[in-house]
Amino acid sequence: MLFDWIAKMLGPAPDHPEFWRQYLSSFDGVLGKRTPIEEVCFVVFDTEATGLDVKKDRILSIGAVKVRNWQISLSACLDCYVKQSYQPVGETIAVHGILPGARSPGDMEEIEAVQHFVKYCHASVLVGHHVAFDISMINQALKGLIGQKLVNKRLDTAALAARVAEKKGYEVPGTLGLDALCKKYDIPMSDRHTAAGDAFITAVLFMKLLARLKKRGVNTLGELMRGPSF
């Protein structure tokens, strides 16, 4: 804790690459607890990876959209595919239908994709479905590159859905998957299991959940972040 505080006082370490310095400085005074949710920029994103093991597996693609003031601008979305050399484990191929190199050849290295993402989201609030995993994947890559982690605020749509349902996540097993929620909230599920497709679906879900929370008096970022997470 103390160390973090000192680090902050000293500013970004000079040996950080440019993109990371810009990333860190983007956090200066943008968001506060009282910021109305309409003014908050949310980056809703999803990653597809070769597997579920954060240590071994690699990112295949990152998709992200920005939600701000109940609106997604398609001219500003992120849709990156990574060149693959790592041989994936069979089970993930079954889920995502992605064969590295087969579905989309990818035109960048994993770390390039992650840098694109970092530049894209800057200080935004990160939103995803079971977002912890996606953030870990990104962090793993960042760790290898510069020994750093994302510091953004984050929201999990599964947790928000449980909050809207006024239940704890463990009380409603099976109902918080993205498929189940899409069904519940009438969201068409085309392009499932592409990072960008899932990011878009999650963004629509996020807006619908946010609208329900707003009805219950959630008007500021502080009120939004206060909810339980898991």
Partner: protein, 644 residues
């Protein structure tokens, strides 16, 4: 970077008008720049009187109401559901929003920037015209002028529709043309031709490229005369080189080639040159078959028909022609002219045949002549598909002692004619509005009295008759009788404002529905119904309004509803725009009814909104506005409030 999300938007948009009229690349570019907006119930997207915004909108899911606010009250004008475009005013006009858009269900809305889209309009007149035509009177005049009313049939239907006129039909027939190699003997070739029952054989090389052609005419003139031996190779009598054409050739092209080369067979090859493989043969006979459905030819053939069955056959061929015209979006003025020419000729021939039959049966033709009148839709020259027959007969005034035999003769004739018309496929009129009914087979004097009675003593029943009888049109016989009747009517109608009031009231009986929403017809009361009666709810109100107005203007001889509106536009410049919209609306409705009728093999009158594509719903819905405005014009002009 990939395009996963815009592609999803693209996939949605391409299903809905007007985006389905755009090319892939253009639509993809639009999709890449779209804003996806989440809208909550009761949210107002724009308000009546607001300055024009920067975007137009498409409902992705949910529902948005368009409201007109008058004296603090909100009147619902439109319900938009999935795929509906709204808020296009900033695109076409620079004035403020005329309506308020209010969200009624949780909605996702796609917003497209006006600036970028305006450029798209410049390059895609069909889209511009579509948007302008979906827009109520007064706006987008610039675009509206550019085209005729259209159904904007989807592309796949247009392709289907290319069937009869062009090559396809004849190519089918001549698939697998009969061919032989150059060393085949004449005797063998002749045997092949007779086995296949064909009039020609193409001589081809090993690669199946055409070398020459031999027709039965060659066999007759060169072999049968003994000039050439049957044992010679076929090359001895073949014509060479062969005139070749490509597979996509029009009838006109074929005709030109045949006339130019003085030949009656053309060879179809893969690329149209003699250097590629033979894929078919076209003979002059094939051409005649294809051309069989040309209106002039049909009309000529009618005169050769000897009974109802033959006449029916012609009418069915005319329907094929109709189908082609409808699918190719030929102007309705042309279609209705052609179809009523055919109808008139069929009726005329039916009368001629029946008169001849009467002669044969020994009935003396009366000295008083007659005129056969078509009523209702045929009277208005609007009968595209066969519906009920409505007709009447006028005969010349006769001395009292001759009345009974004269009327007796014409009733008998009318009975025969209506029977033949029935055979052709025009159903008997359930209301007995036929010349075979003694009440509608009258002398000129009686007709004048009848119309006077209707006009001076209007009653709901009289008005009902008037709506049918006033659209009379002479088809056969002494047309001056019909002219005299018309003169009489205009003479007496002068001071009879009350009668016109009755007619106007009748024209307002059936207000159009408000709109279509999802699979329902939405009434102005908010009620939802699942069946739409295009005749009663949209066409008749227009036809009835046109009739009152044209009678009031004392213009005879124009029976066609859209022509009546065109005439009215000329006569009343201040209502020109409304009348033009009404004419367009009527044309769209006629087209749509014919289309439904051809599709469902019925009169096309009733259908369920779920049968309609988005484009079709929008097209139909747009016809409702001029109907409403016309009805309110009638209400003011004839002060209908007093008559109620």
């Amino acid at each position: 970077m990939e395009n996963t999300i815009p592609r999803r938007i693209y996939d949605f948009l391409k299903e809905f008008p007007p985006f389905n009229l755009l090319g892939r690349e253009v639509l993809m570019r639009i999709s890449e720049n779209i804003l996806v907006q989440y809208r909550q119930p009761d949210e107002v997207i724009f308000r009546q009187g607001d300055a024009p915004g920067t975007h137009i909108y498409i409902v992705r899911e949910g529902a948005v109401h368009l409201l007109r606010e008058i004296n603090g009250e909100s009147l619902m004008v439109e319900q938009c559901d999935e795929g509906d475009v709204f808020g296009i005013r900033p695109l076409l006009a620079s004035d403020n929003y005329a309506l308020t858009a209010k969200v009624v269900e949780e909605s996702l809305v796609y917003a497209i920037n006006v600036e970028g889209f305006r450029e798209v309009l410049e390059n895609n007149p069909r889209v511009a015209f579509y948007l302008a035509s979906t827009f109520a009177a007064g706006i987008g005049e610039k675009y509206r002028k550019e085209g005729k009313p259209m159904l904007f049939l989807e592309q796949d239907k247009m392709v289907d529709a290319n069937f009869p006129l062009v090559e396809i039909q004849s190519l089918e027939k001549s698939k697998d043309p009969v061919t032989c190699l150059p060393d085949t003997l004449i005797r063998q070739a002749a045997a092949v031709m007779s086995n296949h029952e064909v009039g020609s054989i193409i001589v081809v090389d090993e690669e199946r490229r055409p070398v020459g052609i031999v027709t039965d005419k060659d066999l007759r003139s060169k072999v049968a005369t003994g000039a050439v031996s049957l044992e010679k190779p076929i090359t001895a009598i073949m014509s060479s080189p062969v005139i070749t054409v490509g597979p996509s050739i029009t009838v006109a092209d074929v005709q030109i080639e045949m006339v130019k080369n003085r030949i009656n067979h053309l060879c179809i090859t893969e690329d149209g040159t003699p250097g590629s493989r033979v894929i078919g043969v076209l003979s002059e006979h094939d051409l005649m078959v294809v051309q069989g459905n040309n209106p002039a030819l049909l009309i000529r053939e009618v005169r050769r028909c000897k009974n109802g069955g033959e006449l029916r056959n012609i009418r069915e061929r005319a329907e094929e022609l109709l189908k082609k015209y409808i699918y190719q979006e030929v102007a309705i003025a042309f279609i209705s002219t052609v179809m009523s020419e055919v109808n008139d000729e069929l009726i005329t021939q039916a009368i001629r045949l029946c008169q001849a039959e009467m002669d044969e049966e020994g009935h003396q033709r009366p000295s008083a002549g007659f005129c056969w009148l078509a009523l209702g839709s045929e009277g208005r020259q609007e009968q595209l598909l066969r519906t009920d027959q409505d007709n009447a007969l006028i005969f010349e005034d006769v001395p009292e002692e001759d009345y009974d035999p004269t009327k007796g003769y014409y009733l008998k004739l009318a009975e025969k004619v209506t029977r033949v018309l029935h055979e052709i496929g025009y159903e008997y009129c359930p209301g007995e509005m036929m010349a075979s009914n003694p009440s509608w087979c009258l002398s000129l004097e009686e007709w004048k009295k009848q119309f006077s009675k209707w006009i001076f003593e209007p009653s709901p029943k009289a008005v009902m008759y008037c709506t049918i009888f006033f659209d009379y049109r002479p088809i056969y016989g002494l047309k001056e009788l019909s002219g005299q009747l018309t003169e009489h009517i205009f003479e007496i109608i002068g001071g009879q404002a009350i009668f016109l009031g009755f007619l106007a009231k009748d024209a307002m009986q059936n207000p159009p529905p408000l709109t279509f929403f999802r699979n329902f017809v939405v009434e102005s009361s908010g009620e939802h119904k699942d069946e739409f009666d295009i005749k009663a709810r949209a066409m008749m109100p227009l036809a009835d309004s046109a009739r009152v107005l044209i009678l009031d203007a004392k213009v005879g001889k124009i029976n066609n509803t859209f022509r009546r509106f065109e005439k009215l536009a000329e006569l009343e410049p201040k209502n020109k725009e409304l009348y033009e919209l009404a004419a367009d609306a009527y044309e769209i409705l006629m087209r749509y009814r014919a289309l439904q009728g051809l599709k469902n093999k019925d009169s096309g009158r009733y259908f369920n909104p779920s049968e309609l594509s988005k484009m079709e719903r929008v097209n139909l819905r747009n016809c409702f506005q001029p109907i409403k405005e016309l009805q309110s014009l009638l209400s003011t002009r004839y002060q209908l409030a007093y008559l109620r």
